[in-house]
């Protein structure tokens, strides 16, 4: 077979030589064509194909889009480029060709990362969404998750805080788990499980999101929440280029929205107007919120160099970012760099790629208690007294927030390092072996000092210094074989099989000392503190192994009928001894209907119609954690007093019931998808899915006796998510000077906890969303985890309004007890993303928006602030008196508000300076970006986009929201 192929190609080669030779001989009058190929925006198209029509003569354009070709005078040249409409022009000595984009083909020709390989988008059978770098979020990005906010149907990214050091919560198609992580697995350049933030936004070429189980099952026990596949410019392309690029911006941000509280004058009017005798006027006029805020100035600079030739490539990048927070003292700076290179050998059959990247983050967390104090403190209290000392009026939760902010030092840093090597080798034609090894290191250092003069813990403990260092390391090896073969031109088969090994090791230690005689050392000399307590020194270490075998078969018949099947077998050390290995299968089919003969009549407007159907099982092993199935003694057990020596000693005690059956959570998902392209202008996808998670992990109460510990982790429950997603991309208008395109996505998800109990384990409803710590709310809960409801379910009495006495009218039973009922969920039902981009000559304008709808937010801040007992000693919202509320705070749906919102995330106006080539520059672009320009919402608090992560308090705004900034940035891109 092999010889046969070689034989025929040899014959073909000779025939070609002959034909070319003959034709050159006959057509003696050749001309030399010098030309340039660009797109509509005059951007050169490197690598475009030029072919003399009716012949085999041709060439390709160079990096500047230029080409030079000899051909007979009068011949036609066919100029083609992937994603563009092919043009035929008459040969002339100087040619300038502008190609039109082919909207449909551009989408379909895209190569998509599918895990352990790539596939043309047109051949996909599963639900995979792709976002290329142009479509990622613009403006300031401090956490890579933000890049995807509003960009992908079904992927919700919630940024609960304006703190530059905070991350975002990512959920794909609703969460699949109650107790485990709901974050998708991130795969960076083929390395699974990498911290998303090891990648800088400027390095990202494209992001592919494996949404359904038939796509994600190749990642087995880590695939249940979907997979985000990130392709960076580190694994450099094969397009020859040499360039230096600079990207930078300067940004200015201010708090977008405040609580409207009484000013000192309003407070005084109230006191005078109501003849309140025992009110203390401290004589100041302080807007406590403003005292904490500032205009934040941030800047970022990125330099990227690369050099790619036919056989090798090198690229390097360095980024420095300094992000100020809009709350004083909070900021984050980041230095990151990466270097990677590749080299081909053995006639391009062998490719070796190596790379390293590193990131150093330094940030200053703030004491978040300041927000509640700023809301509580009486506006007549001055920040400092006559002696310049911070005022302190005593009382609970009324400490001076400026003191809290300033008299504490928090210095955190995180170091991330990733090193990898990859080898790809073509053993015989079509059969490739790939192996990659990687090492990831991620450490977090925390340094804290609370000086002796700081209120509360500083004074009580006479100063406290703390250090902590924790890290984790991932050692990974992946090795797989792929075989591509085509039979009879119509049967395309791709087979892949591999093995992977992952070892995760984490460890750390820390120390605390109190009782300092001087504050000079801060956290730098803990030994200077004299007060040592149990637990002040600690260390820990743990380890987990994951071993996997996986395979995939992809069969494509005539480009119309496609079939994919995958299988992964995961063994994890975390699993109980009765369930060490888990098997995750999937299968999917696709049918390109539009290519059928019977669809010929629609081909004028229907460019593409493809149906996909897939089913698969994925797992989530995150909820188990290490050592959870074993009978172990915790060495951090309690102390006991040993009377014989008069000293305290450590005891070791068992801390969990053993469960040898512990295993992963299993998610089976059905997906039905339709891809379509219309009028060469619009393409889109419609997806329907049904996900059922079984073996949900939950910590159950168990009878004691006989159990050693009153709770036990077990796989019991079921959870369902089902939904619809629609994605539309449109090329609305395109003329020589003007282009206009738009993208839109909308998704709907419905979640339900079907089952939490079985015969052995029962959970009748766990109360969560603790309101403890709010006045009058001790021991009260706002949420419940219960069968029949989604996660994040608010649960409490309904309120019919405020009666004439200013009391909440609560639904009560015949005994006068409030009737608790379901009040909605913190999870959005509908997510929308919408954006448009325009270009006019050298100007470009784009905006993007996103919105979340149907979720509830408990405005616990409002619930506590509309409290008559706060006056006169504390502050209240300025419309408190008109609210009619005259009784103590009470939890009910009165404060469970509709959290739906729609936000203008960013708008960018750019200008590309023309004709820069004269100065030896390829491109100079300047732009202005505005972020968070407006938000439309009915929510009465400061911002409805609040943290929805976890089960403890998703969707509860409780004096904990770091205000979100509105930011304007000026940026510059220069390419040499």
């Amino acid at each position: 077979m092999k010889i046969h192929i070689k034989h025929t190609s040899l014959i073909y080669f000779f025939i070609m030589l002959f034909v070319i030779g003959v034709s050159q001989h006959i057509q003696a009058q050749d001309i030399t064509v010098n030309g340039v190929v660009t797109d509509k925006k005059q951007e050169p198209l490197p690598g475009a194909n030029i072919r003399v029509a009716g012949s085999n003569t041709g060439t390709i354009t160079d990096f500047d889009g230029k080409f030079s070709l000899s051909c007979p005078a009068g011949s036609n040249l066919e100029i083609s480029y992937i994603g563009y409409v092919t043009q035929t022009v008459r040969a002339a000595s100087n040619l300038k060709v502008e190609l039109d984009e082919d909207a449909v083909a551009l989408g379909e020709a895209v190569v998509v990362g599918i895990g352990y390989g790539t596939m043309r988008k047109s051949d996909l059978t599963g639900a995979i969404a792709s976002v290329n770098s142009d479509d990622l979020k613009k403006g300031i990005v401090t956490s890579a998750e933000q890049l995807l906010q509003g960009k992908v149907a079904g992927l919700s990214v919630v940024q609960g805080s304006g703190d530059p050091a905070s991350g975002a919560t990512v959920r794909l198609r609703g969460g699949t788990s109650l107790s485990a992580s709901n974050s998708p697995l991130v795969v960076v350049d083929g390395i699974p499980g990498v911290d998303f933030n090891t990648v800088q936004p400027s390095e990202i070429v494209s992001i592919d999101i494996l949404k359904d189980a038939s796509s994600a099952a190749i990642y087995g026990s880590r695939g249940a929440n979907g997979v985000i596949i990130v392709t960076t410019n580190r694994s450099t392309s094969n397009v020859e280029r040499r360039s230096i690029e600079y990207n930078g911006y300067v940004a200015v941000g201010q708090v977008a929205n405040h609580m409207d509280l009484l000013s000192a004058n309003q407070w005084r009017q109230y006191v005078r107007g109501n003849n309140i005798a025992n009110a203390t006027d401290y004589g100041g006029d302080t807007d406590w919120q403003k005292e904490l805020e500032r205009t934040a100035v941030s800047h970022s600079h990125n330099l990227f160099i690369n050099n790619v030739t036919a056989n090798s490539g090198l690229s390097a990048s360095i980024t420095y970012q300094d992000n100020q927070g809009v709350i004083k003292r909070s900021n984050m700076d980041r230095l990151s760099g990466s270097v990677s290179g590749h080299q081909y050998a053995l006639d391009k059959r062998l490719k070796v790629e190596i790379g390293v990247s590193g990131t150093v983050d330094n940030w200053n967390p703030i004491d978040t208690r300041i927000f509640e104090r700023a809301a509580n403190l009486n506006p007549t209290v001055p920040v400092t007294d006559r002696n310049g000392e911070y005022t302190s009026i005593g009382g609970t939760n009324t400490e001076n927030p400026v003191e809290l902010l300033n008299n504490r030092t928090f210095d955190d840093s995180r170091h991330r390092f990733l090193g990898y090597g990859k080898i790809e080798f073509e053993i015989i034609k079509g059969l490739k072996a790939a192996a990659n090894g990687s090492y990831e290191y991620n450490s977090h250092q925390r340094r804290t000092y609370v000086p002796t003069y700081a209120v509360m813990e500083g004074k009580a403990e006479k100063g406290r210094g703390e250090r902590h260092l924790g890290d984790y390391k991932n050692y990974q090896l992946e090795a797989y074989l792929t075989y591509d073969v085509t039979f009879n031109d119509i049967h395309k088969l791709n087979v892949m099989g591999g093995y992977s090994y992952l070892r995760n090791t984490y460890e750390g230690f820390g120390a605390t000392r109190r009782g300092f005689d001087t504050d000079l050392f801060e956290y730098n000399n803990l030994a200077a503190g004299s007060d040592y307590r149990a637990g002040d020194v600690y260390s820990y270490k743990g380890q987990a192994d994951l071993i996997s075998f996986y395979g995939r078969v992809n069969y494509n018949l005539m480009g119309k009928y496609m079939f994919t099947a995958t299988l992964r077998d995961d063994g994890s050390s975390r699993f109980g001894k009765n369930n060490k290995w888990g098997l995750f299968p999937s299968a999917s089919v696709a049918w390109r209907v539009s290519d059928e003969d019977f669809m010929a009549s629609t081909s004028s407007w229907l460019d593409n119609l493809k149906l996909r159907f897939g089913y698969g099982v994925t797992g989530n092993q995150d909820g188990i954690g290490e050592y959870k199935s074993l009978a172990i003694l915790a060495a951090d057990g309690a102390s006991y007093y040993d009377a014989t020596t008069g000293t305290w000693k450590k005891s070791y005690a068992p801390n969990q019931n053993t469960n040898p059956d512990l295993k992963w959570e299993s998610t089976a998902q059905l997906n039905l998808g339709i891809d379509f392209g219309l009028f060469s202008r619009v393409n889109g996808s419609l997806e329907f899915y049904h996900k059922k998670t079984t073996d949900l992990l939950w910590t159950y109460p168990v009878a004691q006796p006989p159990y050693l510990v009153g709770t036990m982790l077990a796989n019991v429950g079921d959870l369902t998510n089902k939904g619809v997603e629609l994605t539309l991309n449109g090329n609305i208008m395109e003329t020589k000077d003007f282009t206009w395109d738009a993208n839109f996505n909308v998704s709907y998800n419905d979640q339900n906890i079907d089952k939490l109990s079985n015969e052995a384990f029962q959970e009748s409803g766990l109360k969560t969303g603790s309101l403890h710590g709010l006045r009058g709310m001790s021991g009260q809960y706002a949420q419940i985890v219960k069968e029949g409801y989604p996660a994040g379910a608010f649960y409490g009495p309904k309120c019919q309004g405020i009666d004439e006495n200013g009391a909440y009218i609560i639904n009560r039973d015949e005994n006068g007890n409030p009737v608790d009922e379901y009040l909605g969920s913190a999870q959005p039902k509908v997510n929308i993303g919408f954006g448009m981009n325009f270009t006019y000559k050298d100007f470009d304008l784009g905006f993007s928006t996103y919105g979340m709808f149907g979720q509830k937010v408990l405005n616990a801040t409002g619930m506590s602030m509309y409290d008559p007992t706060r006056l006169p000693s504390q502050n209240v919202p300025d419309d408190f008196l008109s609210s009619g509320i005259k009784t103590d705070p009470l939890f009910s749906d009165y404060w469970v508000e509709n959290g739906s919102f729609f936000r203008l995330q960013s708008a960018t106006l750019g200008y590309t300076i023309p004709n820069t080539k004269k100065f030896g520059m390829q491109k100079i672009r300047v732009y202005l970006t505005g972020e968070n320009l407006f938000v439309i919402t009915g929510y009465s608090g400061v911002d409805p986009e609040v943290n929805i992560n976890g089960l403890d308090d998703p969707g509860i705004e409780r004096f904990n929201a770091y205000p979100r900034p509105r930011t304007f940035s000026f940026g510059l891109n220069v390419t040499f």
């Binding site: 080898i423 072996a433 820990y540 192994d545 910590t699």
Partner: protein, 503 residues
């Protein structure tokens, strides 16, 4: 070249393929079955049994505190008795009515304080059973095992004595490896179990006085408590057995200063027979009763800079308790009453509502009390730089109780003359004149005043029958409430358990 690379790939796959060992490697924890081979290892396990006496905070039900010093074991026993209460103050301390239920003797099986009380003992028992299991598997000689196990069984018997008193019929579980849901044993069987365990281990227990260790003196004290209440527990009085057990206790004295046993360094007290040691620097938790009783602004009266710990303005004395003390009774200082002086300014501490902080004995309405109503629990020493977790040890048994048991047992046996000297010894230290007769009322008063806020009052109220009579704002209490109901969540998890009668 080709074969070389190919074989390298295969070889490396095999190399890693060999690593299919998925056993978990432990670094900072130890496997239960391999531990306890050396005597120092044994000690770290046995010490854990004593550590359980401090109780724990359970994560279920959104956090159930099972502390004998505070929430909820102490709270429950105190609030159902006639000496303390946790009034609701505005929205504070309502907490679903759990404290009002205790005060009005209308508690039900869902009251979390009852769950905390149940869990305190059964968590301790489960831990002790696991420790005994490990001791038995260790390399110790059989005799050494018996000696080590004697203390462990003693601690377990202490828990069962609490359960016997609080719940009556409870399951007896002694085997760590037992699986399956246990059924209840009758109160009589539990009584016999406690009695026989304490007797069986007696000879293997340490003798003499070892602070905070389960010695023969402790075992005899618990036997005396058991017999003192035998009539309540099993219907048959055992007064003479109580006396005999008391007579075996030796080496302790009444401290001259009544408050010596309640100082921060109370481990020096020669009166304490058994205690639960605390030291916040050693990470002990649960010992924060002071923060549960004093007013929010009390800190200015304890510390000139106001750095005293946050206080929650909760548990108070019931009205009538303070005035029941003779004004010369030094034990009355166990209650804090009157105006509180700001140490920095010398004037009265002001509350946030603008009124002066003056504690009153009276509580007009326990369902909506004023912030300053109710005398406060002031028995253990208060230091200005107190931490949230305090350092005094929690007194479980002290010698004065032995004297009172002797007095009561003699009186019940009709030996009134024998009883009088014991009562007078107690009264004399309290600064009170001697009595020449002893009757139920005298004894009850002495129990009440001597052991105020020590968690003994409920048992005493039941033994004297006063528990069932109306007091303050509570009506008569039916007899079945002399034990608590089995907590509902416990019943739900173990269908083999039957609820106590009438609940």
């Amino acid at each position: 070249m080709k074969t070389k690379i190919f074989s390298t790939i295969i070889a490396s796959s095999l190399l890693f393929g060999a690593c299919t060992d998925l056993d978990e490697k432990l670094y900072d924890k130890v496997p239960m079955d391999d531990y306890g081979q050396t005597s120092s290892e044994i000690q770290t396990i046995v010490g854990g049994a004593y550590a359980t006496l401090r109780g724990f905070s359970d994560s279920d039900q959104g956090g159930t505190n099972c502390y004998p010093t505070c929430e909820y074991v102490f709270f429950l026993d105190e609030c159902v008795s006639d000496e303390a209460c946790i009034p609701t103050r505005g929205t504070d301390w309502y907490d679903g009515g759990r404290y009002q239920q205790a005060q009005s003797h209308t508690w039900d099986a869902n009251n979390v304080m009852i769950l905390g009380t149940w869990k305190y003992s059964f968590q301790g028992i489960a831990n002790v059973n696991s420790i005994i299991y490990q001791v038995n598997k260790s390399g110790l000689t059989d005799h050494d095992k018996e000696v080590v196990n004697a203390e462990l069984r003693g601690i377990r018997a202490y828990y069962y004595l609490l359960l016997l008193d609080q719940f009556g019929d409870v399951p007896i579980v002694t085997d760590f490896e037992q699986v399956g849901l246990p059924e209840k044993s009758s109160r009589k069987e539990v009584f016999q179990f406690v009695e026989s365990e304490l007797k069986q281990i007696m000879d293997n227990l340490p003798t003499g006085i070892i602070y905070a260790r389960f010695t023969q003196n402790v075992a005899n004290s618990l036997l005396a408590r058991l017999y003192l209440n035998a009539e309540v527990y099993v219907g048959t009085p055992r007064w003479q057995d109580c006396l005999d057990a008391c007579d075996k206790i030796s080496g302790y004295v009444l401290e001259t200063d009544y408050f010596e046993s309640f100082k921060t360094a109370n481990e020096k007290s020669r009166e304490i027979i058994f205690s639960i040691p605390y030291d916040h620097k050693e990470g002990t938790v649960g010992n924060y009763l002071h923060s549960m009783t004093f007013h929010y602004n009390q800190k200015y009266a304890f510390s000139p800079t106001g750095t005293y710990q946050w206080c929650g303005n909760g548990i108070s004395a019931q009205p009538g308790l303070y005035s029941s003390f003779d004004e010369n009774d030094i034990r009355r200082k166990s209650l804090l009453i009157g105006e509180q002086i700001n140490l920095a300014t010398g004037s009265v501490v002001m509350m946030d509502n603008g009124n002066p902080l003056i504690y009153t004995e009276e509580i007009e309405n326990y369902t909506n009390a004023l912030q300053n109503e109710g005398a406060r629990l002031y028995k253990y020493e208060v230091l200005a730089d107190e931490q949230w977790e305090r350092d005094h040890d929690w007194v479980v048994i002290r010698y004065a109780e032995i004297l009172m048991m002797k007095a009561e047992a003699n009186f019940r046996l009709g030996f009134q003359a024998n009883a009088i000297p014991y009562v007078n010894e107690i009264r004399s230290r309290a600064g009170l004149p001697a009595v020449d007769t002893v009757n139920e009322e005298v004894l009850d008063n002495e129990w009440k005043h001597e052991f105020v806020f020590e968690g003994l009052r409920r048992t005493t109220n039941i033994r004297f029958g006063t528990f069932f009579e109306p007091w303050w704002e509570k009506g008569a209490t039916p007899a079945y409430r002399s034990v608590y109901p089995i907590p509902q969540t416990v019943l739900d998890l173990n269908p083999a358990l039957k609820q106590n009668p009438n609940y």
